[in-house]
């Protein structure tokens, strides 16, 4: 659309800028708050410029934490979150790419049934089956452990489905050419299918990493030992201190640190991520 209407250009830019401000301002405010002293936010006037306590606040949260709120240092929580998010993302990708490979390329009895069983689990996310899952995990003695945090979230119908759709677009002749070239099923998977799925894997990793990172309800249920707290649920604990004003500067420092890894993952993998969503390399 080629139009030259100054007013329209002004209006569209205004709407865009307002939108950006609405989204970005709270983040900015969180950052500002994390750089001030403990009492500064209680005085009624919200400061809009960075304060002098940034390094102090961050290093305090990172190394010591708010023991009064029952939360361990952020370094532990960040590490827990990292372990959980990466394990979930990697585990989901490995499991779903293998099951998609089996479903698409092998003929076995009840193949369709297997596919639909996986597909139907889409209807049963963690939140829906949380009580029975909790019961099972607790009976297995996996409360307060990494396996307990990770395993119930690791199967993924969505990823299986995505890989299946991708494999279906790979021409059959490629598999036949590989067979003529002497590549068995595993070799074909490793030498041909896996490299072709590279961008899809990267895109899925970003999505699944964030999915694992923002898990709130499940870690809240299965962890009572602060050694296993994840950062997203930890923030809630920091803010909800009984009988005292929340120490916003520390809470916000935690928020900023919790936001960082997903942002980094997106930025670092952005190129592959967009490629994986937009094009299929053939």
């Amino acid at each position: 659309m080629i139009e030259n209407r100054p007013f329209l250009a002004f209006l569209t830019h205004l709407v865009l800028i307002v939108g950006v401000v609405v989204v970005a301002f709270p983040v900015y405010l969180a950052f500002i708050a994390s750089t001030h002293g403990s009492g500064d936010f209680m005085r009624g006037l919200v400061p809009l410029l960075p304060g002098p306590h940034m390094i102090e606040n961050y290093s305090y949260m990172f190394n010591v934490g708010l023991s009064t709120a029952g939360a361990p240092p952020l370094s532990i929580m960040l590490l827990n979150s990292l372990v959980m998010a990466i394990s979930i993302a990697v585990g989901k990708i490995i499991i779903s790419i293998l099951s998609a490979y089996a479903i698409v390329y092998f003929k076995f009895p009840f193949r369709l049934l297997a596919f639909w069983t996986i597909f139907i689990t889409l209807m049963l996310p963690v939140e829906v089956r949380i009580i029975p899952t909790f019961k099972v995990v607790s009976d297995l003695g996996m409360l307060n452990s990494y396996p307990g945090l990770i395993i119930p979230l690791i199967a993924s119908a969505t990823a299986t489905f995505l890989f299946r759709q991708f494999f279906l677009t790979v021409p059959d002749e490629l598999m036949e050419a590989a067979r003529v070239d002497g590549a068995g099923p595993l070799k074909f998977f490793r030498d041909i299918l896996l490299p072709l799925s590279r961008t899809n894997i990267a895109a899925l990793f970003v999505i699944l990493f964030i999915y694992g990172w923002v898990q709130y309800l499940w870690p809240l249920l299965v962890t009572t030992d602060s050694k296993y707290y994840t950062v997203v649920m930890g923030i809630k604990r920091l803010a909800a201190t009984a009988d005292a004003e929340p120490q916003w500067n520390f809470v916000m420092a935690a928020v900023m640190l919790a936001m960082l890894p997903p942002v980094l993952v997106v930025i670092l993998m952005q190129r592959l991520f967009v490629k994986g969503l937009v094009e299929t390399e053939k």
């Binding site: 021409p171 002749e173 490629l174 036949e176 050419a177 590989a178 067979r179 003529v180 070239d181 002497g182 590549a183 070799k187 030498d191 041909i192 490299p195 072709l196 590279r198 390399e281 053939k282």
Partner: protein
């Protein structure tokens, strides 16, 4: 290098659909055999059964004397060129050529030697480090052939390798495939639906229809003496004129000629119809010219027969003086007629009767 023997081979899909009926064919060592037929005639299925990509319902396929029914494609020592090339998109051209050799544990210096040689023969040396998607269709086709050559297999299998190319490139690659096959003298099976490709390439032509072999032979002998009505109509462009004899017109035109008993359809090649009456006994047809198609070296005249709705195609050399709408009479020598019976679909004369 090896012969391929197909004995009583049958292919039944999901228990009900029979794609190939009891087919026997033997392909001699070093020959280029072309399977040709309309789509759905089972030619690709047969090729894929030879390759081992499709299971064999019944019968045996033997390569170099050894039955290969239960063998994996890789163990059959064949190489295949696919219609859509099926190059590995994430590998360079070199990687594509090497892959099959690496899987076989060929020593490194041997791989390099063979790849260099194939690249030289096919003139793809400048592209060795490019990816397939950076190549044009013709170049990809060469790479696909290179992948087959480096393996030095017992047999090449071509599955409509040229149908994704434009007409000019197709003609060029056709010649190259033929030259390559002559030089390497590797047994080859080539599937196509393009009868021009089939005629020009084949040492042996196999015409298939409905899962059966209609005729096997040298291309020219099939052209000159089609054994069945199907082959008569399928091989040749423009197609053979097939005139039913039961019409008043047919009976009159062929009355003076001594056709074998049982003949009810007569086939006449467009290029054996002439405008001047020959000395030998002949059949004559008259009608009006409906359409003239100049193709360059020759022209195709479509003539509507007088008193009928049948169209006859006559191929005349060069540019013709014939104009559309004019009356016309053409003659065919008795020896150029192909008598058929439409019920059996077979020729009614014996080779001796028609020298």
């Amino acid at each position: 290098m090896a012969s391929i023997d197909i004995k009583g081979v049958k292919k039944v899909y999901s228990g009900t659909v029979t794609a190939i009926h009891n087919l026997d064919l033997s392909i001699p060592d070093g020959q280029l055999v072309v399977l040709v037929g309309p789509s759905g005639c089972g030619k690709s299925t047969l090729l894929r059964m030879i390759a081992g990509l499709e299971s064999i319902t019944d019968g045996t396929i033997a390569i170099d004397g050894a039955v290969v029914n239960a063998k994996e494609p890789a163990e059959r020592d064949i190489a295949m060129v696919f219609q859509n090339y099926a190059l590995y998109p994430h590998m360079t051209v070199r990687g594509n050529l090497e892959y099959g050799l690496k899987n076989r544990g060929t020593p490194r210096d041997e791989i390099d030697r063979r790849v260099a040689e194939a690249a030289r023969i096919l003139e793809i040396e400048p592209f060795l480090d490019r990816r397939p998607r950076q190549l044009s269709g013709g170049q990809r086709q060469r790479v696909a052939m290179g992948r087959a050559i480096v393996r030095q297999p017992k047999a090449f299998l071509f599955d409509e390798p040229l149908s994704n190319l434009d007409a000019k490139l197709r003609g060029q690659m056709r010649i190259e495939i033929k030259r390559l096959q002559r030089n390497l003298a590797t047994t080859s099976v080539y599937v196509t639906h393009d009868q021009l490709e089939a005629m020009t390439l084949a040492d042996q032509l196999v015409v298939m229809n409905g899962g059966r072999i209609e005729q096997v032979g040298a291309p020219i002998s099939i052209y000159e003496r089609p054994e069945t009505l199907f082959v008569a109509g399928f091989i040749g462009s423009p197609p053979m004129n097939l005139m039913p004899m039961d019409g008043a017109l047919g009976a009159q035109a062929f009355a003076s000629l001594d056709l074998p008993s049982g003949t009810d359809v007569v086939g006449i090649r467009p290029d054996s119809l002439v405008v001047s009456q020959p000395q030998t006994p002949s059949a004559s047809f008259s009608g009006t010219v409906e359409l003239v198609e100049p193709v360059g070296g020759e022209s195709h005249v479509h003539m509507r027969l007088a008193g009928s709705s049948d169209i006859m195609i006559i191929s005349v050399p060069g540019r013709t003086e014939i104009v559309e709408g004019a009356p016309m009479t053409v003659y065919a020598k008795a020896g150029d007629l192909h008598p058929f019976n439409h019920q059996t679909g077979k020729r009614t004369d014996t080779p001796a009767a028609n020298p």
